[in-house]
Symmetry: C2
Amino acid sequence: MEILNGKKTAEIITKELAELVKERKATGKKIPHLAAILVGNDGGSVTYVNSKLKTCEEIGFESTLIRYDDSVSEEVLLNKVKAFNEDKSIDGFIVQLPLPAHIDEMKVTLAIDPKKDVDGFHPVNIGNMMLNIPGFVPATPAGIVELLRRYNIETSGKNCVVVGRSNIVGTPLSLLLGRNANPGNCTVTLVHSRSENVAEICRNADIIVAAVGSPGFITADMVKEGAVVVDVGTTRVDDSTRERGWRLVGDVKFDEVAPKCSYITPVPGGVGPMTIASLMINTLKAMELKGK
Amino acid sequence: MEILNGKKTAEIITKELAELVKERKATGKKIPHLAAILVGNDGGSVTYVNSKLKTCEEIGFESTLIRYDDSVSEEVLLNKVKAFNEDKSIDGFIVQLPLPAHIDEMKVTLAIDPKKDVDGFHPVNIGNMMLNIPGFVPATPAGIVELLRRYNIETSGKNCVVVGRSNIVGTPLSLLLGRNANPGNCTVTLVHSRSENVAEICRNADIIVAAVGSPGFITADMVKEGAVVVDVGTTRVDDSTRERGWRLVGDVKFDEVAPKCSYITPVPGGVGPMTIASLMINTLKAMELKGK
């Protein structure tokens, strides 16, 4: 069993990007600029956005953070999105989800210029991904594919089960792993809350990606000997032994599943850091697509 | 075993639409207008376009056909697309594929205004479909879903295998049948040329959709007793017993597969007529989306 070390892989990508920025600086070229809009004080969201900005700093990307109170109006938020769309110094930006209930998340997503949509959530980018047209692939699926690629994991012809059909992870990942590409060419089964015989379906998988947000959902009896297991889950559960009072728990019962796997991602230190690395790659791409 | 009679179902839809047009005419409202661009003389393409225009006539839709020789330049074609985009009398239009090799099909598809893209091939419409945002679903997948709906076939929780991952049938259909909708909520496996153990995967399916374009690809040993089988294949094979010299053959060996099925589509008279019916529904929707 080998660990798919997302943390280490993301650090390698960060260093590669830092090297690139150094070269660009030395030749007087533009440096990629990522902006983020954060609404409210949700613990997870604050942590994610801070990690993204910290990574920008490590790489040498420029970054901008705009924070709003929970009570911000949809109009104010949409105006800021419009301003970012028009701001030529900003190559890409994200609006950290989730947003408060009084704001229509889809409306905000649709307001983002697809060319600056480095989260890859806009329908244009989703459609481009399906049609294999250059654009932005959502960061988490892109990070998973990059992790498999860097560990030279054979995907072609393999049975892959993606558990969870969210718009930002499961569904786009099922398209990415099934399309004619490398990594790709998997025979993908997309499993969800209405699926029956989930355990049996998983037992036939060479590759399992768990993206349900349900701690310990994947148990040892659901996993074939030698399978590759990717755990996208990051649920915060109370933990009084930790100073901060919580720990992150994945969708996979790691202790019992790991011994059966050929490769497995840990939580934390697996998919999470790769998501941030992918966002950085997308930001660089946004600048390059503008021809800079 | 019951036949999923696409021909009859499409006729019912045609009558429903004709009734609607009659009502609109009686109240002085706009009548939907579908335009088509046909390049060259490919037998299949000419037949398809003629069927589409004939159906427009039956329903009472307005229609326009522009034909070009095989040698038409990409520029001329793109200019016509632009003219159709701007023509307010046209609600939706299609460019019949395939196009000659010297014309970039994707460039033409991208040039079509997504609001008039009644074939549903533009990335914006593909993305909208994945995100469940109103738009145009490609006609063949939409027709298949409508056929299942009209026969009250239960799809929720069923194992569905889609064979073939084309951009216009297999891949979008896998999204449609897997999403949270009715029909939908299937556990979908998308099988393609790199898949292994295809027969075994198919034998586990409650619903099989064959969209590979390979005559007789699905044989009786690949089908579970009681399965629903949908055949998208329409390959022309020589047949000297027919006056026209050919016949249409599906991807399913009908004679041996049908006795095992609960429901099965014939070829011809199954998915084909439903595709045309869906195009008509999309054309009506295009007009309605404009608020007319």
